[in-house]
Symmetry: C2
Subunit: 413 residues, 2 copies
């Protein structure tokens, strides 16, 4: 089919870019930056920004913008502080000491879109959890140019605590982070949103480096009992729909008249929105106002869809909450999804396309890794050697068995 041909072409193209950057490093990266990001430079240094550049941008933006970034960052920090996994250990009855260490990743790369759309909020949402995790080096790639929106991105980098930025984007930037070049140190993990090239490149380098997730179109599912203002819910649906034409905005309610009111409100509120064509298109493509028999049926459907965002626009949201198994972020009562995008505190990097069945919001836990720690006592070695050797021999692994039994001899002597 045409779609899978396109996917194969994209995969081949991205694979060629990665091989090229891996083989030729900086010079390949500079060529792709000139060709694909329209950024001509003779050295990578020209495309490199540092904390002083971020601070300068923070000075340039309007005071109200700076305050909005700083207060959002503070709330994001307060929320994510709760997410750091703790190390632990215990002694068992044999005197063995067993536990798990938690250590930060050393170097993380952040992909931030920087073309027509630029999202300072994504800088806050991705970099702040990494700082809290203790990641030593935080490096952004983004095809930034010089305009006010990009100043907002750089200002967000200052507020979040970024260490370095390279003004390149796309698959070549992902390749440089994953493989390293003469100028760019290889990272341990690559996170952050991106278009088709960035997503495919992340998929291909997964394994050499960690990645967060492959983000798909954004989604909201609203379950409403009909008590909320129809116009408010209509705006929540349209906020989702304005992302792009494949965004999904669904409203489920057992109240038919309420659905009618929301439909009317959509029609009324659409006319003066700058992205009205896009909104109309995505509502037609993937939107829906759905009559359900009960709130419980709505919750069951939500679990099947596992939406990125779930609004429980209910008088008593806490009653339905225990029935919800699968959702990236759950907004109770009047809480709107858009505050989750900016300044409620939780991450806006959430699992999409049904992956909330198994995946979690981006968090501090994504920037640490665990190591098991095993210190067996003499008594432990003595007791565990024989059964370990027995199981090893059942698996045909004689050297394993003898390695275990060597401890038996040792602890007897």
């Amino acid at each position: 089919t045409g779609i899978s041909d396109n996917q194969t072409n994209l995969a081949n193209l991205v694979s060629a870019i990665i091989s090229d950057v891996e083989a030729r490093g900086d010079s390949a990266l500079l060529e792709y930056a000139a060709r694909l990001d329209n950024r001509k430079a003779s050295t990578l240094k020209e495309l490199t920004l540092e904390p002083k550049d971020f601070r300068a941008a923070l000075q340039r933006i309007a005071t109200e913008d700076r305050r909005a970034l700083e207060s959002a960052a503070e709330r994001i920090r307060a929320y994510h502080m709760h997410q750091k996994p703790d190390a632990w250990s215990y002694q068992d009855a044999l005197g063995n000491s067993l536990g798990q260490r938690v250590t930060p990743l050393k170097r993380v790369g952040f992909c931030i879109p920087g073309g027509q759309a630029s999202y300072p909020s994504s800088v806050l949402m991705t970099v702040i959890p990494a700082v809290l995790a203790g990641v030593e080096e935080r490096v952004m790639v983004s095809p930034l140019t010089q305009d006010y929106n990009h100043d907002m991105v750089l200002a967000a980098a200052a507020v979040a605590g970024l260490d370095l930025a390279y003004c390149v984007g796309g698959a070549h930037a992902v390749a440089a982070l994953a493989c390293g070049t003469q100028s760019i140190a290889r990272v341990d993990k690559i996170v952050g949103p991106g278009g088709l090239y960035v997503s495919e490149a992340k998929r291909q380098v997964f394994g050499r480096v960690g990645i967060d997730m492959i983000a798909g179109p954004s989604e909201v599912l609203i379950i409403s009992d009909g008590h909320a203002e129809a116009s408010t819910l209509a705006l929540d649906l349209m906020a989702q729909a304005e992302h792009d034409s494949s965004s999904q905005a669904l409203l489920l309610s057992p109240d038919e008249r309420h659905l009618d009111r929301v439909e009317q409100a959509l029609a009324e509120l659409l006319f003066d929105l700058p992205r009205k064509n896009l909104i109309r298109q995505s509502l037609e493509n993937r939107g829906g106002l759905i009559l359900c028999r009960s709130l419980v049926e709505a919750a069951d459907l939500a679990n099947r869809l596992a939406p990125e965002h779930l609004e429980l626009a209910l008088a008593e949201p806490a009653q339905l909450l225990p029935r919800i198994d699968n959702a990236g972020a759950i907004f109770l009562g009047a809480s709107p999804e858009v505050m989750g995008d900016y300044n409620a505190g939780p991450s806006h990097c959430l699992p999409t396309q049904g992956t909330a069945r198994f995946a979690s919001p981006l968090g501090v836990y994504d920037f640490v890794k665990r190591s098991s720690v095993i210190a067996l006592s003499d008594r432990g070695l003595r007791q565990l050697a024989a059964p370990a050797a027995r199981l090893a021999r059942r698996e045909g692994l004689e050297a394993h068995a003898r390695s275990a039994e060597a401890r038996l001899i040792r602890s007897e002597s």
Copy 2:
């Protein structure tokens, strides 16, 4: 190159198998089972095993084998109980309630090798954490035949708490779990080790379902100060080397004579091991006895390699431990890696090939997912609406801004 041609062929073959199983379900699966697993059956029911079958196998095996499985399971359970992430929530100064729920995945598939090698220990290591996480349905795929080793696998399934097993393996089994068929319910995540086909299939279905990791050849790195018996360390190295010819076994020490003694012990102990040819081969391919200037230098090298298993065979292992950043599992003093394979308690499913830089042992945390929960107070809505709207407009998202501002109007009224 030849290697990348082979990879492309494998990828194409696996992709075709997945599409076929997705399109034709059970009948495709039965065809592949007959062709690739040598298991002829006319319905999937003939290839399905249930808890009563697992219990029957547990009765059939030797009492000592049963005891070894049960005591290992108990220790694995005791260790993994510490890993479950807790839900949490807090109220901020504005009266907003923010938190994170933790819910188990509903259905998980376990790939367990079942050809020439069969690993009952892998059943314990993968299924027990899922049970502790609260996963409702735990389904194994494994190309099992009827022999004693496979009775051990089924007995381990009884001990671990498996719900169902399908006697099919390879890419077609992964496809059935990921896509679902008429008889097999789609799972949310697929975990467990596998050969080339299983690994490539897991890579391809990643995104539709969760996967754990793509496991590579097994590795041990031993840092020795020379106080341990050379013969014991030689056995530890050979235990690693007997897995397959690409396994890696390294010993680092600042004590040259100690390295000589280990080399001699390797030569002496090799001769009567059943897998001596394999061991010799993998030691020649990827093994090494490496003289280093100091233990600190050895620790730095370990961090660069990020080994799956790290043994600190030191008189004072706790002194070097804080310098270790990257390792899947760390064994202190006389604790041997092989007890970690069976009955120390921690998982033997560990990150390989340097991925311990960013990845963790398989654990209870891999069988749950988190959801953010956001309940904003009237005061919270009022305070957060304006800055959220401001940031939304900077990102060109007017409907987002109005959705936030709708709360301002609401909470004023």
